[in-house]
Symmetry: C2
């Protein structure tokens, strides 16, 4: 008979659970949360008829076999919601169970009949039967209480003096009865949906990228890890908590690129750190001129004292001198003339770079070896990796590699450097990358910024994609930065640091407002540090160090700025002024940022705020405290005037202060 009943086991399960959110690609990929964050789950839950339903959100950390539960609440239109908090790093799972709540259904119907003045004696006896059933499953004490309650209802006589009808709705006994009746014919959602829980830095971080070789104490020398240590106080003072170094491996000699990416390299030129390996050691070796492995570990330890983590750049490609090419020729493509296939993006050729052939027969050993590169550096104390061009490596490899590494080390953070098309960019985040570079460098106008950051923070993308906003990188001198000097850098800094809970700059080029492109129309730096050792004048008076330090301090002191999903844009009647708030869930911290997007001109306009969302009374004055300048403004009502002169400041970063001092606060005895 079961042949004909494909739903046999759930034939009497009357509740439907569907349209669960969040749920990425039918549960194929985890949503992301950082430790301590809550996961809010919603679903359509309904049954035939008009019975009352009950639903629970079930969740567990991967290693615990037992589910925890929290009740879900019914919102409007058959939508239900529940939430749980993540308290451990690693993976969680959640799912939903829902059932017809017989006891609540009985009580609800009873109440309606009572209100209509109907005779309910038979209904009370029906309730007594339900309660007796509950008593059979109850522990002795509960059973006793339930049985006595059932007796009252069946004979229609209250023992408390309360009217029997009110007695039937007794809340304590109701809870006991509902619990003991259990979940007959409950529907279990068929999927267990994953959550990746990462350390807080996955969501909130400030990155500083620098080339160690440019920081030698003496001119004409190659900077070392030791020299980097001397930079730590400055970086810490600016408020960064991740120091990211381009690849630290030996640099290839064959086809080494010269200054400004010249295909001819003059003797003595250092080459690009992304052309990995000369001689022995490969991706697990250190470029001798930077120092030793011990020096590197010392840098990590010193950085920790400043609460700074070192992030390493992993670029899975080889220079033609890389030992892999001799030891594992099967991992590379060869051309019909026997030569090795270098990287190409026709008609462009990258003869200093040899890609792996991930379609080779020996792919499993290749995967293991590449994974071991991460494992090696994790062993030295590195927890954060920026992965170079991941969109040119197979997605299956990256998914496997990150999952394997995170299974034993939940602290790891992987930043995806994929300036590629939207779908592959998002897919890299889905498959496991913790943070992602994104299109921020090319979103400049108010409309572009609002549209893009609404997509990143208010669509399902926000559940798996942590954007990391970089106004510049060694590869990108964004056009906006090229023409308007210091003000342009200040604008992009404030936008990056307040739109994004994570952001980064490539310094000191950024704070020193280095803005000359290699040629007009190019977004490459002239005399790029990628191909040569630079000397930076860190004490130049136009340096943005102080502004950066101030902005990072504001970020640290205001939890509202440490999230992305809380971003909301607000109307200003001037297209050169952009305004947005971020608030903590409990409303205790609200930051309003207003930026004048024009580096040249003063702009003013009327700003509209949804006061009720901030718990403000439209008839009362509130204070806006500009954390950049420490100026305080008294505002009233939803519309207020803002004006920004870029010579003074291109931005307000206001903290909303609800309490304004009045005469009642005056202390007559002070």
């Amino acid at each position: 008979m079961n042949e004909q009943f494909p739903f046999a086991e759930r034939g009497r399960c009357r509740v439907v659970i569907e349209n669960v959110s969040p749920e990425i690609e039918a549960g194929r990929f985890p949503i992301k949360r950082v430790i301590g964050e809550h996961v809010v789950v919603e679903a359509d839950i309904f049954a035939d008829g008009h019975d009352s339903l009950a639903a629970v959100l079930k969740f567990r950390a991967e290693e615990s076999p037992e589910w925890s539960e929290t009740p879900m609440e019914s919102l409007a239109n058959d939508r239900w919601r529940g939430e749980f908090f993540t308290t451990k790093l690693g993976n969680y799972f959640y799912t939903i169970e829902a059932w017809v709540d017989q006891f609540k259904s009985w009580q609800t119907d009873l109440q309606k009949k009572l209100e209509a003045g109907q005779d309910v004696s038979i209904e009370l006896r029906a309730g007594a039967q339900l309660i007796e059933r509950a008593a059979q499953r109850a522990a002795s004490r509960d059973a006793e209480n339930l049985l006595s309650w059932a007796k009252e209802l069946s004979i229609g006589e209250s023992i408390t003096g309360d009217p029997i009808a009110r007695r039937a709705l007794n809340r304590d006994l109701t809870d006991t009865a509902r619990r003991c009746l259990g979940r007959q014919f409950s529907t279990k959602y068929e999927k267990e949906l994953p959550v990746a829980v990462d350390p807080e830095r996955a969501r909130f971080s400030a990155w500083y990228e620098m080339f160690p070789r440019s920081f030698a104490s003496a001119a004409e020398k190659h900077g070392t890890f030791k020299d980097c240590e001397l930079q730590l106080p400055r970086i810490s003072k600016m408020g960064f908590d991740v120091l990211y170094l381009p690849p630290i491996h030996p640099i290839g000699k064959s086809f080494r690129k010269g200054k400004n990416n010249n295909v001819v390299c003059e003797p003595g030129e250092p080459g690009s750190p992304w052309a990995i390996e000369s001689g022995a050691g490969g991706h697990k070796a250190i470029h001798p001129e930077l120092g030793t492995l011990e020096d590197f570990k010392s840098l990590i330890a010193r950085a920790k004292e400043f609460k700074i983590e070192i992030a390493l750049d992993i670029a899975f490609q080889c220079s033609p001198d890389h030992p892999y090419i001799r030891e594992h020729p099967q991992w590379f493509r060869h051309r019909p003339d026997g030569s090795i296939q270098y990287a190409e993006n026709p008609p462009k050729k990258y003869q200093d770079i040899v890609p792996f052939d991930f379609e080779c027969e020996d792919w499993k050993n290749l995967w293991q070896e590449l994974k071991s590169v991460f494992t090696f550096w994790i062993g030295q104390g590195v927890n954060i990796f920026r992965v170079d061009n991941p969109h040119t490596k197979p997605f299956a490899f990256l998914e496997w590699c990150i999952a394997e590494l995170k299974a034993t080390n939940h602290e790891l953070i992987f930043l995806s450097e994929a300036f590629t098309r939207p779908k592959p960019m998002y897919h890299l985040a889905e498959l496991g990358f913790t943070q992602s570079y994104n299109y921020f460098p090319w979103r400049n106008s108010k409309d572009e910024l609002e549209t893009y950051f609404t997509e990143l923070t208010q669509s399902p993308v926000a559940d798996f994609f942590h954007p990391n906003l970089w106004p510049n990188t060694p590869d990108i001198l964004a056009q906006f930065l090229q023409t308007d000097g210091r003000e342009a850098f200040a604008i992009r800094l404030v936008l990056a640091a307040t739109l994004g809970a994570s952001y980064g700059i490539y310094g000191p080029a950024f704070e020193l407002c280095e803005n000359t492109p290699r040629e007009p129309g190019s977004e490459e730096y002239l005399n790029s540090e990628k191909y040569e050792i630079k000397r930076w004048d860190l004490s130049a008076p136009h340096s943005l160090e102080n502004l950066i330090a101030r902005v990072n301090q504001i970020r640290r002191e205001n939890p509202a700025l440490q999230s992305d999903r809380n971003l909301k844009f607000h109307r200003v009647d001037n297209d050169q002024l952009i305004a947005y708030t971020k608030s903590t869930d409990d409303g205790s911290d609200t930051i309003l940022t207003v930026v004048n997007l024009s580096p040249h001109y003063t702009h003013s306009g009327w700003l509209e705020l949804p006061l009720e969302e901030f718990g403000l009374d439209a008839r009362k004055t509130y204070q806006m405290h500009d954390l950049l300048t420490d100026a305080r403004f008294l505002w009233r009502g939803p519309r207020n005037y803002v004006e920004l002169n870029p010579v003074l400041s291109s931005a307000h970063i206001f903290r909303l202060r609800r309490h304004v001092r009045t005469e009642h606060d005056f202390d007559y005895f002070a």
Copy 2:
């Protein structure tokens, strides 16, 4: 080793397929199409790197084990699209396969290098190697051609006289090589997504509901199936193709409802057809006063001659006299006093109706018995069922029952009568109902209609929900109809018949503009036909018969009106005027409907049409032919004036005619 490689079998499959549409609840439910319709499938398809990809849409009818294939095309932003046509009733499945197209990648790179003037001799040799690999898998003739081609490329000498570079791009040989190279490391989408293919009437139908008992030839008599036969010419002349009868089973006597739903029934009152069964036979019997089973079959046969199908109403509930209650007491709930539990929606009681207890132990036999009710009537020639209140029966039962019945009879159509909340209403369509009643009776203003029909036709809902629009039913005398006489009925008729490819009316109450509610504020009819036999004056001069006949003829003659997903609203600068078009896919038929929503006043406004979507030249005159009045208007440009006086006509139903006669058409020799 495979332990560590959960993706082992797809480690080298570099293509990602995700975000496939249509896809309902991760493929749990089928999308709906009618026979001959196409299924357009889109997906995000991409791989690492910049290789060229290829993708196919695979599809098959359920009974055929072999997949058919059609290539998918790349749109913008990594989105791909393919389509197939449904040619058989029953279920189809579709899925996607995609792979890196090595040969195309090679040719694309080659072409770029040629355009950049680079030396390509090694590339030609690499191509020759690929072609040789293809030749190994080719049939003899192809193999010969490919090998000779490979030879040309490897020695760099063309045999055709064409430059060797152009020769490398030869299209015929390219197709052969690509085909023979096959689909190395192809990615197969993990789901096979279902399609339910129904007869055309599932999408395009005009229903007429009537109570046979009111059509006796002599007064004071109970109408019969024979009397119904006499109505067929009239119904056919009006243009309906489904004649839907309320339940035809014997009507219960216990607690029989009297006139106007009175709980007391006078002797001789007929009762409600939905209170099923007195005496023997139950849901498989016919109310004796309507005639015999033979009479019913004769009605079906006569109707077929008029191309009309009979739709039966299946109401899964019993009167207290139903034989099930004696024979299967275990299928019902009993109250503590031993009495049977009648239907309730507290504080309302429906003592003439006893619901089944779908949670009973014997549920499997109950399911089988209820299914056998359909099977019985299918055996008598019924293919269309209107299911009464399906939202009060378990979804699992309905899903099982409809699937079982349709497995052996693909022609079946099930109409869901669920005037319930949106989520259960949609879920009934997901689980198998072909057509659905919906909120049309309560959507009256322009904004309400636009919002609701955009949701029904332009969101994913359109893939599984065929709305059937009823301006009235025996249960619903919509408020809009109550106050404004004939014009109100005309407005709702045109809206139902042109907004919906399927619609229906409850007649003759509708065409005779019966509009008195039981009491002010009620949407029940006064002296409802549900509880008494009516006499209708079908020849009344105010009857809408002629308008209905005209509108149904327009629907039949214009395929644009036979679909729902092609609905588009257009701007009119008057909120009392609503305008929308429907077009066939090939653009050969475009219908513009404009309705004056006010039954009282003339309204006019300027209408904006997107001419380019209709293939119209903004500088040329086109003709709008009003199919209701046969008037023709010459329009030019996107903005045109419309005016509707409800005394003359509340609507235009324009057919767009592109060709306007000019002097060049004049036949000098005629």
